[in-house]
């Protein structure tokens, strides 16, 4: 737990101010969905184009900003030789950032009102693939792990996600 506590503290110290923008957008969209569209409605369903279309655009924008930001942070956290040699750091950073992304995905599922097991799995798969694409854009074709033990995932999610 000490490691994760330290990671959260480091994150807040390093990126604190930069988190405000996406958090504000998330609060704005959540408020719009809950207070205007209603709990059971999907944010992506257009009933009032003047308001719903900008909301969908903001929703899309948040889905680009957040994963790209997380991947950028991963890159800066993992690229150094020293950290490659620090035991467990990659697993822990990936778990930590993955958890943040997981919370974000749960929020997306809630706000887009994706229901049904198959739909959620499909959404998760497409989203993981999209993140893998972002990872290539930010990172190139470099693997985070040298090991081949996650080769199947490396192939499924194209290149370099783990």
């Amino acid at each position: 737990m000490q490691v994760y506590k330290q990671m959260i503290i480091n994150d807040l110290k390093k990126y604190g101010i930069k988190y405000i923008f996406p958090i504000l957008l998330v609060i704005l969209l959540s408020s719009y969905k809950l207070l205007y569209k209603g709990f059971d409605a999907s944010l992506l369903k257009i009933s009032d184009p003047a308001l719903d279309i900008p909301a969908i655009l903001i929703f899309t924008m948040v889905h680009i900003i957040v994963p790209l930001g997380i991947i950028y942070q991963l890159r800066s956290a993992l690229k150094s030789d020293l950290f490659v040699l620090t035991p467990g750091i990659r697993t822990k950073i990936l778990f930590y950032k993955g958890s943040v992304l997981g919370i974000f995905i749960i929020w997306s599922i809630f706000i887009a009102r994706i229901t049904g097991f198959k739909e959620i799995i499909f959404f998760m798969f497409v989203y993981s693939w999209l993140i893998s694409l972002f990872l290539i854009i930010v990172w190139g074709f470099k693997y985070i792990y040298n090991s081949r033990k996650y080769m199947i995932l490396k192939i499924v999610f194209q290149f370099g996600i783990i």
């Binding site: 330290q6 480091n10 110290k13 150094s80 020293l82 035991p87 750091i89 040298n146 090991s147």
Partner: protein, 241 residues
């Protein structure tokens, strides 16, 4: 000698960058408790060799193992036993304060020795509240060395660790290494241009020249091959003629 005494083994290791061959069929064995100095001219391949043996570079051919494990896929338990000081210190997050940086690195190790860290920081006059980016090159190097020592590793790998240190800091650093070796029998691989430092600390040397190891063995044997009056720098210059 027993095979389980071997800490580092390179077998027929070759590495090229594009068309330029940097390492050619390198064989090297370092046994437990050895202090080995690695010397060679600029571009001789010292850093590449260190990175290759730590699995930070993919080899073109050959095999590198540390504590018997393949370097390219070092397990966590082996990483716990290694302390590494890279040549470049800009790998640390510059915005972090020294104490936060050391706490962060320490959080990944089970055996992080906070008392030792505090002692070294005090002895080496490092400001724990300074941001890493604001330190001089020498101070950054000191922090990197302290970070590598914090978990009391069995194997230390130093890539030009004293390049930016002043003579006093170099003396303190070398004293620390000698103490470590005497107290805990740590194994050390130490690359440097400063041959006088090697003479003070290293029992064995490996000389890299023309992408190959031209000599590996004890420093005293090397001196015997030349003249007793020659120091390592003279021998180094002679061998590089």
């Amino acid at each position: 000698m027993e095979n389980n005494d071997i800490v580092i083994r390179l077998e027929k290791v070759s590495k090229s960058y594009g068309n330029k061959q940097v390492l050619k069929n390198i064989d090297l064995t370092i046994r437990k408790g050895t202090i080995m100095g690695l010397i060679g001219k600029n571009g001789a391949g010292k850093t590449t060799m260190i990175k290759a043996l730590l699995g930070l570079l993919k080899l073109d051919s050959g095999k590198a193992t540390v504590f018997g494990k393949d370097s390219w896929d070092l397990p966590g338990e082996v990483k716990h036993r290694i302390g590494y000081v890279p040549q470049k210190t800009d790998i640390f997050s510059g915005w972090m304060r020294v104490k936060d940086l050391l706490d962060y690195i320490g959080a990944f190790y089970n055996a992080w020795n906070k008392d030792k860290i505090s002692k070294l920081i005090k002895e080496w006059s490092i400001d724990p509240d300074a941001r890493f980016r604001d330190l001089s090159e020498g101070e950054k190097q000191k922090v990197a060395i302290v970070a590598a020592m914090g978990h009391d590793p069995e194997l230390y790998i130093f890539d030009e660790p004293v390049a930016s240190l002043d003579p006093v800091a170099r003396r303190d650093f070398i004293k620390e290494l000698i103490d470590l070796n005497l107290d805990s029998g740590s194994t050390m691989l130490f690359s440097t241009h400063i041959t006088s430092d090697l003479e003070r600390i290293a029992a064995d040397v490996a000389l890299l020249k023309d992408n190959e190891i031209k000599y590996t063995g004890s420093l005293s044997d090397l001196k015997e091959q030349y003249s007793e009056k020659m120091n390592l720098e003279d021998i180094f210059l002679e061998m590089n003629k």
